[in-house]
Symmetry: C2
Subunit: 342 residues, 2 copies
Amino acid sequence: MSELTVRPVTGIGDVTPGADLAALIAAAAPWLADGDVVVVTSKVVSKAEGRLVPVPPEPGPERDAARDRAIDAETVRVVARRGPMRIVQTHHGLVLAAAGIDESNVDRSHLVLLPADPDMSAAALRTRIRKRLGVSVAVIVSDTMGRPWRIGQTDVAIGAAGIGTVRDYRGEPDAYGNILDVTQVAVADELAAAADLVKGKAEQVPVAVVRGFRYAPATGGGARALVRTGPEDMFALGTAEARADGLRLAAGLPDDGPLGDADLPPGAVEHALSTVDTKVDVLTASQNRVTLRPGGDPRRPARAGADIHRLRAALAAAGLASTWTDSDDSPFGTITVGMPAS
Amino acid sequence: MSELTVRPVTGIGDVTPGADLAALIAAAAPWLADGDVVVVTSKVVSKAEGRLVPVPPEPGPERDAARDRAIDAETVRVVARRGPMRIVQTHHGLVLAAAGIDESNVDRSHLVLLPADPDMSAAALRTRIRKRLGVSVAVIVSDTMGRPWRIGQTDVAIGAAGIGTVRDYRGEPDAYGNILDVTQVAVADELAAAADLVKGKAEQVPVAVVRGFRYAPATGGGARALVRTGPEDMFALGTAEARADGLRLAAGLPDDGPLGDADLPPGAVEHALSTVDTKVDVLTASQNRVTLRPGGDPRRPARAGADIHRLRAALAAAGLASTWTDSDDSPFGTITVGMPAS
């Protein structure tokens, strides 16, 4: 590896809808060279693309309502909410406070949305810079993102063109012959972070150029390839939201849902039962099914029913599925425990 | 802002326990100057400090067990788990896969723990570099960290000395006179990310120097100030873990827990009741209390009891507390709903 430089591009000035951002960058940085990485703040990309929403300039309920509507329109789902603050997944797949909608560095009568397709924005800028200056650069569109577990924000790549956004070390040996089996580095995010160090937030330096970084060619995914959503996302909901989801699951436990055929983990049923203060007897047990007879005071069947539901919630918390066939006489039916149907 | 450079420090070689890391850095980078930021991979700090755990070199259950014990010893709490993978909070407050314990870039007979106190490690390096070279540098100890919602890892600051780790823009005006009210930039993390671009993972370049970044003096918190835990952490548990926690809460709903005095949000009780398929009548209602009479088939009291517990889980999912006094006769007692006691 050799030295790299991170240079701010000054003199771009205010960017207005319809502006030719590539021309502005080319004029302000005529020294751009092959292999440079041009990191552009999403704010100016959005402004050039006219991604502005008019809002009442005065603070108050009307401005707040207009802002809420703008956030709604960019939101695919809410990840977490606390008071008026919403962390949402946008249609880009990004998880951002207020859907990345910003009120800074724009006049008071507008909000700025993120670019509709930041990878396409990056690709267009790259092509137009090449046309203007005859150089092949990579382009990253950056945005400021908060992080769980960390104070403060860092800039990340939300759009990219001409550059492999991930450096994959998996399968490579280190100096000791160990295989580096887990390390994929999000180099596009690191480049965006490096660029932010010279851009600042309030100084109208919306572009920085990283020179000297030897990157892999683009693989086609753009910065979208850095988005982790779906089953691989272990933090798809805030803790409070997921906890409420668990309570809702308990409220909706079906009495006769299907059980799977997989074997029960040894001891799992016993452990789940031990977490609630109710009595049950084991009627039958096999590798993949345990049938229980609820206990409970025969004179208080309603309480026994509540205890049965408690038990089933405890089993569900342990990842176990159950069914309940009720009876109007003590012992109030049977609970059968198995693995969830896949 | 002016240009900055990021330079790899080569020639440090293998670092062994007891090594004088400051001397190695000073010898390899005699060109260090006042104001430089020296970013050191935690791996070599740990090795110099002897933070190594012996493990059987051969893959197998014994090595795995030794690794698990090492992770346990560094873990304060488990945040999320999937198969053999554990994301935990360490005693530093950091949330890291496998507690940041690494098997790469070390011989097969050892694992490398994180430094015990990375801020202190950074401070000691800073002092000793000043003694050797007579220059005042900032020092960042970096580690590689995964991120929710993003593919790949980036380097972040786990230790820092001589540098303000957060650049706080709150309260400052932008060019349009808007107050930048939410932006705190984790500059130490951005510096660690920039440094990683020249360090690489397998190339034994454990140190990089950022020159030209004008940073604020340290405020005393070190990189520890970048750790967000406790009530401010909206992602304290993985989604699956928090969902299971909600199910456990349902299993443990106390019949007679305390209710708070705060007013109920309008419509919240009705909405929660509408999410479960059971019948209830409102007996009394006030601003801060609603008393319900369970419905249910009087001939099937156990099922009515289960339905009562379902209702209470649905109320809890909506953030509402409830009590239940049971009765052995239909309608099986009363449910009272209020806000949770604070």
